[in-house]
C-alpha cells in the first residue's frame, strides 16, 4: 500500500497571525514539503493544478520535474490533472518527459476541475465536462500506446500520422487514476480502462465514498480486469495531529473555522463526525484511517491533505514528521496484515518496482 500527501496549492492567510505567504514562498514551501515527504518515508507526492488565484500550481510538470531531480524514491503524481481543459497531446508529452526525468516515478490522477471560468479561458464549455473527460482521455490513452496516431474527435483538431514524443519510458505509459467525488461516469471510465479510481473523500461522508468505490469495483470486474477486490482504489484523507487530542483540536480550530471550502460552516466537531477529517492524537489517526478499509475494501493508495488553510510551513513539516514516523509505519504493518493475498499493490513502473525489490530487506 502507498501512503503520501496531496496539495491543493492554495495561498491562504494564516488566520492566527494574519500573515499571507507570497506566491514565491508558497511555491518554495511546496518543494520543501515534497522533499520532507521523501525524508520521512512517504511514497507519493501529488500536486493539484489550478489556473486561478489564490492557487499557485498552474504548471505541475515544472514543479514535479524539480522535485524529481531532488528525490530518489518518491512517486510524483497529480491531484488532479485537468483532462477537460488541457490538450491531451500536451499532457502526453509533458508527463512522458517527466517519466524519463524521474526514471518512471510518475503517475497521474485525472480530474475535470470545477471552477467555471477556467473552461472558457481555455476555450471549453463546463457543461461538456464529462464528454471532454471521456474524449480527451481516450486520445491520451491512444497517444501513449500507439506510435503513430490517426485521430478525429469532437473537441480537438484531428491528427494524421502524429507521434507524441518522447515515447513513454520503456514503452510503459504512466499509470492513471481517475478522480471524482460524485460522477458515476468517471467511476465507469476508470473501470472500463482498468485504471485506478481515486475518491477524494475529505469533504463528503464515508457512506457516499463507499457507494462510489463499490460501483467502480463492480464495473472493474464487469470489464474483466480482475475481481472487484482487485480493482485499484485510492482515497483522500485529512488529518491534524498533536500528542494529545485536546491540543490538536485547539491548534487546528482557527484554521478549520476559516478554511476555504468548508470554513464558516459546520463546527469542527460536526465535520469530523460527518467526514473522514481526523483531528487528534496519532493513535486516533491510525484508528480512523484503518477503518476506511471496512467501508471501501482493501485499497492501494492513501493520500493526506496536510498543507492548506494557511497552516505555516513549519507546522506542516512537523505534521509530516509525525505522519512519517508514528502513523504510516503502523498503518503499513496493519494494512498489510489485514489484506487478503489476492489484493494487488498499485501498479508502478517496472524500473521502480525493480528498485524497490532490490532495496527491500531479504527474507532469510
Amino acid at each position: 500500500m502507498q501512503f503520501g500527501i496531496f496539495t491543493v496549492g492554495d495561498v491562504t492567510t494564516d488566520p492566527t497571525t494574519g500573515t499571507t505567504p507570497s506566491e514565491n514562498e508558497r511555491i518554495k514551501a511546496t518543494l520543501a514539503i515534497a522533499l520532507k515527504a521523501e525524508e520521512v518515508g512517504l511514497d507519493v507526492f501529488a500536486t493539484g493544478e489550478h489556473h486561478n488565484p489564490p492557487f499557485v500550481p498552474s504548471s505541475p510538470t515544472t514543479t514535479l520535474g524539480y522535485i524529481a531531480a531532488r528525490t530518489e524514491k518518491l512517486i510524483l503524481s497529480t491531484s488532479t490533472t485537468l483532462i477537460t481543459t488541457n490538450d491531451p497531446v500536451k499532457i502526453a508529452e509533458d508527463y512522458a518527459t517527466l517519466q524519463h526525468l524521474a526514471d518512471g516515478r510518475v503517475d497521474l490522477m485525472m480530474g475535470r476541475g470545477n471552477t467555471g471560468p477556467v473552461y472558457p479561458w481555455f476555450g471549453k464549455d463546463i457543461r461538456q465536462g464529462i464528454p471532454l473527460a471521456i474524449e480527451n482521455y481516450a486520445l491520451l490513452h491512444k497517444l501513449w500506446r500507439e506510435d503513430v496516431v490517426d485521430w478525429e474527435g469532437k473537441f480537438r483538431t484531428p491528427l494524421q500520422s502524429f507521434t507524441a514524443t518522447p515515447r513513454p519510458l520503456d514503452g510503459v505509459p504512466p499509470f492513471v487514476w481517475h478522480g471524482s467525488i460524485r460522477s458515476p461516469e468517471i467511476a465507469e471510465q476508470a473501470a472500463y480502462y482498468g485504471d485506478g479510481f481515486f475518491h477524494n473523500n475529505i469533504f463528503w461522508p464515508m457512506e457516499h465514498t463507499r457507494k462510489m468505490v463499490d460501483l467502480y469495483r463492480r464495473r472493474y470486474a464487469h470489464y474483466g480486469h480482475g475481481t472487484a477486490e482487485q480493482a485499484v482504489v485510492g482515497l483522500g484523507g485529512q488529518v491534524f495531529m498533536a500528542r494529545n487530542s485536546q491540543d490538536a483540536v485547539r491548534e487546528f480550530r482557527p484554521y478549520f473555522d476559516n478554511a476555504p471550502v468548508y470554513g464558516h460552516g459546520p463546527s469542527l466537531e460536526d465535520f469530523t463526525q460527518q467526514t473522514p477529517l481526523t483531528v487528534g492524537s496519532p493513535q486516533e489517526v491510525i484508528e480512523r484511517t484503518l477503518s476506511f478499509r471496512e467501508d471501501v475494501g482493501d485499497y492501494q493508495r492513501q493520500l493526506f491533505l496536510m498543507d492548506h488553510a494557511g497552516l505555516p510551513l513549519k507546522t506542516v513539516l512537523e505534521q509530516l514528521d509525525i505522519l512519517g514516523e508514528e502513523v504510516v509505519p503502523v498503518l503499513r504493518k496493519e494494512f498489510a496484515r489485514l489484506r487478503p493475498a489476492g489484493v494487488p499493490d498499485a501498479p508502478v513502473h517496472p524500473a521502480v518496482a525493480a528498485a524497490r525489490a532490490a532495496a527491500a530487506p531479504k527474507e532469510v
Binding site: I134, E188, Q189, Y192, K211, D214, L215, Y262, Q274
Partner: protein
C-alpha cells in the same frame, strides 16, 4: 382492494417564530387535504410537516459543504418522496423568505417534476398576496411541479375575518386548495417525473462506457 402503501402529504413550513402562523397555515392545508383524501378513497394518508426553522443551520451548512446532515437528508427525502406537497412561506421583503429559497435550492432540480404542489404564504398585510403568483408559482414552475390553481395567502387579518360578498374567507380557500391537492394526488396515475438514477441504483447508475464513447464519434 386496500393498498398498503399510504399516500404521503408533506408540508414545508418556513415560519421562524413559535408558534408560527405559517406553520398553522401548513397544518390547516394538510388537514384539509387529509380530510378530502380520507373521504374519497381507502388508502391510508400520512401527513408530515417539515419545519425549516429546525433545519436552518443544517441548510446553511449544506450550502457551504455540499452535503446534507442526516436530519436534512431526511427532510429532503420526505419532500421528494411525497405524493403531494404543501409549501408555505412567510413573505419577507416582497418575496419568499431566504430560508425557504435556500431549502428548495438544495432540492435536485428534477426531483419535483410532475408533483402536485399547493403554494401558500403568510404576511402582516394583504398587500403582499401576489407574492404567490410572482414568486412562488414561477419557482415551482421552474422545478416542473404541477402547481395547483388555488394558492392560499393568509394576512394577519384573515385569521379573524369571514370574507365578504366578493371574496371567500380563509377557511373556504384552505378547503378548496386541500381539495385540489387531494384530487391531484389520487388522479396522478402517471407522473412525468424523470428520476435521474443515483448511486443507490448501483450499476443502473451508469451508462455503459462504449455507449458514452460512441456518443462522441463524429460523422
Amino acid at each position: 382492494m386496500f393498498e398498503t402503501t399510504p399516500l404521503k402529504i408533506v408540508a414545508v413550513a418556513a415560519g421562524l417564530s413559535s408558534p408560527s402562523s405559517t406553520r398553522l397555515l401548513a397544518d390547516r392545508l394538510a388537514g384539509a387535504a387529509r380530510e378530502r383524501l380520507a373521504a374519497g378513497q381507502d388508502r391510508r394518508v400520512e401527513v408530515e410537516v417539515v419545519e425549516l426553522r429546525d433545519l436552518a443551520v443544517d441548510i446553511a451548512n449544506h450550502l457551504v459543504t455540499g452535503f446534507p446532515s442526516a436530519g436534512l437528508r431526511k427532510a429532503l427525502d420526505a419532500v421528494t418522496g411525497a405524493d403531494g406537497l404543501i409549501a408555505v412561506t412567510p413573505v419577507f421583503t416582497a418575496s419568499y423568505s431566504g430560508l425557504f429559497k435556500s431549502f428548495f435550492d438544495l432540492v435536485d432540480n428534477t426531483a419535483l417534476t410532475g408533483k402536485p404542489v399547493v403554494i401558500a404564504a403568510t404576511g402582516g398585510t394583504p398587500r403582499h398576496s401576489l407574492v404567490l403568483e410572482h414568486a412562488m408559482r414561477p419557482l415551482f414552475a421552474y422545478l416542473r411541479a404541477v402547481v395547483l390553481p388555488t394558492s392560499v395567502y393568509a394576512a394577519s387579518e384573515d385569521w379573524g375575518s369571514q370574507g365578504d360578498e366578493y371574496t371567500e374567507g380563509l377557511p373556504s380557500r384552505i378547503r378548496r386548495a386541500g381539495g385540489e391537492l387531494a384530487s391531484a394526488v389520487t388522479g396522478r396515475t402517471v407522473s412525468g417525473a424523470t428520476r435521474v438514477p443515483t448511486l443507490d441504483d448501483g450499476e443502473d447508475a451508469v451508462v455503459p462506457f462504449a455507449q458514452q464513447l460512441a456518443g462522441l464519434r463524429t460523422g
